[in-house]
Symmetry: C2
Subunit: 553 residues, 2 copies
């Protein structure tokens, strides 16, 4: 195809900064379509069937930056054909495998205002009113979690010497920030020692006479914690995974034992992390009891509420998070269940002086004593996403979020019932919040597994895992609906790894009929030819347990 | 004011996810205004005169999340009155103090598509074609910097086992990622030791028999480096600031000496950081010579090109960055001189296997061997900003960016001439790229300072600093134009600290007339009453040097 070639000139460069896209242009039309009917736009332009990955990569393979400008209309058409068409329909009500869901309509025009203003939150000189706005949003989430009184917020909200939290790009940076604070607070300056912040870990452990410093979390902890431990110089092995009970919650007896063992081994426990909604199964750790243990051993108690934090909006379900108000810090993701666009997260600290442990200053910005937010964040330049979070909190309101949270949990329970009632599936984890897992495992196989000897169970489970994985991949490729998958170690199968479907019921537009369709599509895929051999192998194994048992050894 | 109260219901919650804002609504009107005439919108709605900070904070002081939903129109009006009005006019051509400048018009509709798609780049399941797109953008910047041949990019661009770089929220995370890689690469696994990534810094130094690990950068290094050293467990004191010459460039003799001293002291130098465009003065370190020193001592060579990287687009000025192609890693900010909205940065690595040193996996996502970008980034969930970067690179093109870069540098030189020719100002640093610094210091005072004894010079400089600071604050508060300020230690004044104006000439819409106006406004402020006393004090000091000298002791 022969391309029209534009020539760059000073005039053409002025033009891109001063002349808006004409409403009739390709980009103008796309925009009107999105404004008028977002759902229709996504439906019309995202193709259902996946393109081959090699073909997709071929569309994005040129590494030479073009010498001459490409026309805006040409690029817009390119994006529509090659990118939008092959993007993921995260807003689709039949895509229940992601933590990224539909967005409220008002987010689109508000985001445009945010982009147009292009503020930089690192310092007041490039953010002005956005600075108190961001502090207000952090105050709102702080209050949701910690419920302090009016005078507390009057006193601290806009006091530049403290901070109720830090806003960031997402849960990973939020968790990292919390652990960074915990590490620095554990080894402060004293005597000739200038603190771990200035003098580093090696000197800190020597000064405080520890051999090691670790972080405790259940084995369901998010991988960002291991990554954080790596970044922080502790090493990812410093995250000690505590076993979980049958409901994926941290085992308090094991936690207590570990604490005792570590304290006796001259190991400093920097943080205990409780999970409010595990990524894989949505379970909530026993936060109240964990707070007790943290208090007993003098450990920073962090709660990763990236997923489950907004459960606090629900009068019905907030009791599940009881004890979160005793956490020293809490991670809260806005681009998950606050329904704000990707990527904005937060971490709030019970003690407004806690973030001082990571304070950094510079001459040209964030001078000591200034109101600049950048002195107490890991990131430097940051966009004004706080505007979207504040708008969501106000336009949806406490009672609106309650409805969204409640309908998600109720729908997950309904889906669990459907799975249990379906002859082809086995529910693996009951939903505590709005996440559940299940797998393909017809009733007769479930029945047989209950009585089969352990080696047979293992072999059958391996084959079931392959089937569940195949179904998940096939369903995704067909593009009509989507559930994700993960690997769990269910107690009922002696903690042998099993691949399971994972459903996240956060999209308010997902209906019970859609859930039925998803199950039927999966059952249909399983009935197709290519799975027959697995099925035969399973039947064979279960029919002759003794022989297979011997053979497996 | 009595507020209309909405009531949240399941239906009203569905509505916000399914019903677009009416074109005639408050938000609809704001949006059309922005699309039609962004500059006009910003001019009309951002008020010139700063509101008192206390009043501004009062508008954002409620920490209770409203129980009932606020109407979208009410929130839109609130944002217009309280937030937009009091935001910073970053796009204004007379605001030459920020690194945040105007945006090309096409960024607005493209951003809307990005928000509407709401992809999450952590894994292909939530980003699909955005994954190869992001890899392409990293490849484009890699090629701009390293100029490898076609076969290199054919081989590595989409190979999931390697990565040409990592995209992130901005320069701070980019620098941190580079130093994280450098630290982990310095202490890899060997024998029984599992590497610093798993086992942490204390064991790493013990295993490799070092007392210390440090990072070298000139005293003009960005504060994100000290922050990174803190995060990484090295401690911020591990950043050793090498003195600079009169042009704010690292002194190679001092650098070499420091390297020799450290090597003899069993200190591991993790990284040497060269600056391509210092934040304060825009100067570029002698990268070629630094690459030689890094090679000689076997040190990871990182270049912080957050500001100056795009100078590579200019045939005329790219020679200033000679040697950058020998860096192991380079930071590049897209929200600065690539004119993409806040916040997106990148770090590219010469060696495509280098990012393996920070690889992390999890079961449910970014499984080993997958194409998921999240295995080699510090952040987890990330937005699809790569789409905006690719569009900018294509729509502006190499030659378009060259024009933007050249006009900025040429304008800075013109401004420097204007300052030198103006009787009231003193140029402090000549522009190498498009940044310069100057201060209020009328010609007679400059003349007198050249001959005054050192204690007098110091006292006069302190007073001049106060005046420059006052002028800067007053000009900012008036809201017509804006330059920033910083504190430098010019060689001509025996490295005594001086507060200076800092001008960043990145907005293509800034005209020579605007530069004249800015100087005249500053000169006018200085002539006003409140500065007279300073002026008298200065004259007095300079008139009686001997007496003052004695008095100062």
């Amino acid at each position: 195809m022969s391309r029209k070639v534009a020539k760059a000139s000073l005039e053409s460069m002025y033009r891109i900064f001063t002349v808006p896209e004409a409403p009739g242009s390709t980009l103008g039309r796309i925009n009107q379509e999105i404004s008028r009917n977002l759902a229709g736009f996504l439906r019309a332009h995202i193709v259902a069937v996946e393109k081959d990955i090699d073909d997709m990569e071929a569309d994005f393979s040129d590494t030479l930056i073009p010498e001459d400008p490409v026309f805006v209309s040409e690029q817009a058409q390119f994006l529509l054909d090659k990118l939008v068409a092959q993007s993921v329909h995260t807003a689709s009500p039949s895509f229940i495998g992601h933590m990224t869901s539909a967005l409220p309509y008002f987010m689109l025009p508000l985001s445009k205002i945010m982009i147009a203003l292009n503020q930089n939150l690192v310092k007041t000189e490039t953010s002005k009113a956005f600075t108190p706005l961001e502090r207000q949003v952090l105050g709102m989430i702080h209050r949701l979690v910690y419920q302090q009184d009016d005078s507390f917020y009057t006193h601290h909200l806009h006091d530049p010497s403290v901070a109720l939290g830090a806003m960031c790009s997402g849960g990973t940076i939020a968790n990292l920030t919390a652990l960074w604070v915990a590490r620095n607070a554990a080894f402060p300056a004293r005597g000739d020692f200038h603190g771990v912040q200035k003098s580093g870990l090696v000197r800190a452990l020597r000064e405080y006479d520890y051999d090691d410093a670790v972080i405790l979390v259940s084995e369901r902890g998010h991988y960002s914690l291991r990554k954080s431990a790596d970044v922080l110089g502790l090493g990812s092995d410093a995250v000690i995974a505590i076993p979980t009970d049958d409901d994926n919650r941290i085992r308090l007896d094991a936690l207590r034992e570990t604490c005792l063992r570590l304290v006796n081994a001259r190991t400093r426990i920097l943080a205990l992390v409780g999970i409010a909604g595990t990524t894989e199964t949505g379970h909530v750790d026993p936060l109240e009891a964990m707070a007790d243990i943290a208090a007993e051993f003098g450990i920073h108690f962090h709660v990763d509420g990236a997923w489950g934090g907004p459960t606090l909006f629900s009068g019905t379900y907030k009791h599940l998070l009881k004890g979160i108000e005793r956490a020293d810090s809490v991670t809260f993701d806005a681009h998950k269940q606050l329904y704000v666009p990707m990527g904005v997260g937060m971490v709030v600290f019970k003690d407004p002086t806690h973030l001082r442990h990571i304070e950094h200053h510079a001459q040209y910005i964030i001078r000591a004593g200034s109101r600049d937010l950048g002195s107490k964040t890991l990131e430097g330049s940051r966009p004004g996403m706080a505007m979207l979070v504040q708008s969501a909190l106000k336009i949806i309101g406490r009672s609106g979020y309650e409805i969204l949270i409640d309908q998600g949990i109720d729908k997950a329970r309904l889906f669990a019932e459907k799975i249990k009632a379906h002859p082809d599936f086995e529910l693996i984890t009951e939903p505590e919040l709005n996440i559940l897992t299940y797998r393909w495992c017809p009733a007769p196989i479930q029945e047989a597994l209950a009585h089969a000897p352990e080696p047979i169970v293992r072999q059958v489970n391996d084959r079931l895992s392959k089937i569940t994985k195949e179904i998940q991949k096939t369903q995704r490729a067909r593009g009509k609906s989507f559930v994700s998958r993960t690997r769990l170690t269910p107690a009922r199968y002696d903690h042998h790894p099993c691949i399971v479907f994972r459903a996240v019921l956060a999209n308010p537009l997902t209906t019970p009929e859609i859930l039925d369709d998803i199950l039927e599509e999966q059952a249909g895929i399983a009935r197709e030819d290519f799975l027959n051999e697995y099925r035969h192998a399973i039947d064979h194994l279960l029919a002759a347990p003794a022989a297979s048992h011997a053979g497996a050894r």
